[in-house]
Subunit: 316 residues, 4 copies
Amino acid sequence: MAIPPDLAHIHHAELLTTKPDESLRFFVDVLGMEVESQEAGSVYLRGWGDYGRYSLKLSEAASTGIAHLAIRAWSQEALDRVVRAIDATGRGQGWIDGDHGHGPAYRFTDPDGHLFELLYEADRYEPPSGLAPSLKNQPQRYVGRGAAVKRLDHVNLLAADVRAVREFAVDVLGYRLYERVELDDGTETGAWMSLSVMAHELIYTQDHHRANGRLHHLAFWVDTREECLRAADIFLDEGVTIEAAPSKHAIAQGFFLYAYEPAGNRIEVTTGGRLVYDPDEPTVVWTQAERAKGQAWGVKTIESFHTYGTPPVEPP
Amino acid sequence: MAIPPDLAHIHHAELLTTKPDESLRFFVDVLGMEVESQEAGSVYLRGWGDYGRYSLKLSEAASTGIAHLAIRAWSQEALDRVVRAIDATGRGQGWIDGDHGHGPAYRFTDPDGHLFELLYEADRYEPPSGLAPSLKNQPQRYVGRGAAVKRLDHVNLLAADVRAVREFAVDVLGYRLYERVELDDGTETGAWMSLSVMAHELIYTQDHHRANGRLHHLAFWVDTREECLRAADIFLDEGVTIEAAPSKHAIAQGFFLYAYEPAGNRIEVTTGGRLVYDPDEPTVVWTQAERAKGQAWGVKTIESFHTYGTPPVEPP
Amino acid sequence: MAIPPDLAHIHHAELLTTKPDESLRFFVDVLGMEVESQEAGSVYLRGWGDYGRYSLKLSEAASTGIAHLAIRAWSQEALDRVVRAIDATGRGQGWIDGDHGHGPAYRFTDPDGHLFELLYEADRYEPPSGLAPSLKNQPQRYVGRGAAVKRLDHVNLLAADVRAVREFAVDVLGYRLYERVELDDGTETGAWMSLSVMAHELIYTQDHHRANGRLHHLAFWVDTREECLRAADIFLDEGVTIEAAPSKHAIAQGFFLYAYEPAGNRIEVTTGGRLVYDPDEPTVVWTQAERAKGQAWGVKTIESFHTYGTPPVEPP
Amino acid sequence: MAIPPDLAHIHHAELLTTKPDESLRFFVDVLGMEVESQEAGSVYLRGWGDYGRYSLKLSEAASTGIAHLAIRAWSQEALDRVVRAIDATGRGQGWIDGDHGHGPAYRFTDPDGHLFELLYEADRYEPPSGLAPSLKNQPQRYVGRGAAVKRLDHVNLLAADVRAVREFAVDVLGYRLYERVELDDGTETGAWMSLSVMAHELIYTQDHHRANGRLHHLAFWVDTREECLRAADIFLDEGVTIEAAPSKHAIAQGFFLYAYEPAGNRIEVTTGGRLVYDPDEPTVVWTQAERAKGQAWGVKTIESFHTYGTPPVEPP
């Protein structure tokens, strides 16, 4: 029986960088995000369409990758239900008092070791006068700087055992599983999950190196495919390394552009993707042969897309 | 406390036409929908992205307007909860056995007299071989005929008392109220509601003639603004009456194109619109002065948009 | 017999502003042009796709409007031929030594009194290192700031007697006349002319006030309609006055967005437009009744579009 | 000294097919062209924006490839000038009486053996009532079927010796050379030429097999990049073989989608491309190293793009 998830959406991600100044310049000048606030070692960044104060916490660290992923629940009651379910798995770490812009958060790790926080209480963004929008149903003025990303859209984590993390996300966190990849030998190498009608919000794909806790990419939303194409022009002239030029995914049918921010974390500029309105949507299972066809229009996926993640690891 | 709605989405609408052949040609050749099946007096039509068998039932009648609106629930249990709530209001009419493509449905009227059906059991579309898609996460092949609308997106009903129907939709049906218009004298003249992150799925606006049970428009989705612009070119050369050329709404920020199908019902080709991820999203209330500014980029709304609906009525 | 024009394209326009700082900020921050150089009272500005050093000279003045329009010839020989033709009309004013970025120029006025300069020798833009492009067939890096206009596309002048200036442009300057408007009483109220396959490069429309030497608008090119839509969002949040929201012209079929720069000159962001490959293209003549239908998709042209120009004048 | 070319544009191409019924269905149903007329063995096809009666003559033959390319001159005098220049090279074959839709044509071959025809007298298309457009500056109604290509845009021929054919095209035919590729060993492997401000109209690239008279591709224009993306979706669901998914060329900066029509001829759906307004535009010369970087956004060009042409040949 289908039930709506108790969790609402990914509230923010904390990304680690070894080149804080260069990464910050990338997110502000090239992706077009705003600095909402700063503290020692971390900068809080937002897209012009994020309703919360920020969706990206960028923190200086000795290596790259993702520090934690924070998911907001529909209510305190809904949050408590999920916390009880996590507790039952033994993966819970307990509550923290909160962080900039949000209240108490419950910490746990997924079976691959990625750190998550669940929260309910969160501030809405109040723009300073220079960033106040003309339309009151918009959280912030559209500045149009760089790729002008609107908000954090989805997060793709790597996992040594995709099936295990996918089952945790579905059974314990309540994610809906829309698509997955299963190889001929039965290995599950990818799972696309969501809390809403959007095609994907949390993705797990196989870690080529069987390492744990790594990041594949953070994806930032733009409203149109033309903005993805425009972002590619901006990346080109900014000297940003484009890993995969704009095209359309077969899975989820999102439109993509992949690049590396200066410290090496993979960043996607994305839009589109199918909408899932069926409460009983059957999971689409892609086979090895189907994946070999490449992306929607036949583009072969570049090898690094299947092998590279952050933090980098030595091959086994 | 925010809770996810028990209802999932508008499954289909039944539209009435006095010119069945011409209307059918419009929906098939100009909007690009497919005939899924036909029966005496009615044709079942679908967009290429509708997961169900159809989203539009087009029925011959003595006048135009909407015959009923069918909403699908997340589960039978969810449906039963909503039915109990409706029963308590005295607006329920009881169950019917179902119709083409769906199971038992519960009938009721909103306070303005529009007929609704709630259902849970519904068939998924199985394309015939000629319409099988290349990508298995797509319900039907993309044919690209005419405006090539993807699916029924939202429905805008007229009501003599918007506040009354809005309160019913929110309090009884569980809709989330994202935006509304309140005039200086306190009259509520519009309410934009949704069951998902999409900016609107059910809209009520004021019936200029204080008539009951009328339709403002049915809106069909395309994935890009460019497809709205292209649809305008198609309408122009097809001789379809364009009421409002493509532009961007201030409310909900959707991109629009309004036209009349041959029998006179207003049809929108739409895309975009803001996404609402905040479980506690405060309702945006637009004032009379703000509405007087026109659409997002200053386009003044054409008078007929505020006065015309179907079936047509004589002014009071 | 059709012959290719001796003139090649509009090289630059000199625009007058009573608010030099605010106008400059508009062209740089909002339209996204670059300052190529500055001198007392004037700033030379360029779009990222202008091959010459600049296409806009912005000069402080006691009033608004256009100071002069400079057209480049195919060669010195071609220029000399046109100069001889102008001389024969008695409208010539002789040669000047040149200006920043170009060589000797021949001055004349059209029959409505607008000042023109014809030139052949002109510098190609050499980008400083910070503005060097990645692709060597592009004159400058794509920065993507603001509306990010690519180049000056066309100029629309007002004239008390459109037929007279149009005949001068066609017969003396060699412009090709692609479209024009003729009212029922035989008055010519608009003429769309070009030196290339592009739908229009020089436009004359009727001055509502029968004043002389005034400007209707300067149009700057973007490559896509989506960029016009995006520019409207930027204008909205920048507080720029949008005169006409993005839509499609019937004449020439260009896509438009009209706004006022801070001093009051009308600026268009444009793309599209039909391409004219027929050497013997017959001029399309629009009637009064056809013009009354509004723009391509039925948008009624706002009154100010027909009455306002710069510098402003009192009604007769 | 730059002078405008005596030739105006490519009027039509005659394409050969071994599968006339399947090819015809492709051009009509998938590309969206109209059959203007038919005769034994040939069908004359047009895009909705072609001003002439047709731009593609599709002829049944024992093999694929291009039968001839017809170029229209600015005038009979201009045509005669070019004919005299061709005569002087000894490559002329004399006049034919004309063909469907055009008058006398002068035949010659380029140094690689491709057959050309030069003509001046040509009919303008007169649409039948069912195809009459709403806007009188458009030759035909926009039907919107399939990819809905607007007109033949450019032709890319293969040549064993690119430098020789390029020099002929520039020196004898008067083409303007905008870009070319020169390998480290001095071999010229590609030349992009035009008669107008458009980035390319006639392209020669190296025949991998050193064969003669072969075709690389015919390119059909659409007005927007979104239509290229949409065409890819149509191709995907039509089962058309996509050779290269939509992306942006480095050379000329055009947006592309390459596919094979049923008989194997390569077809491009294209838009964009830089505009060249400088009469003295210097030719951009791309080096071997620069070409190795792939397309504009880094997409590696698929091997077949460099090796395949029609008619097919055995490797040397």
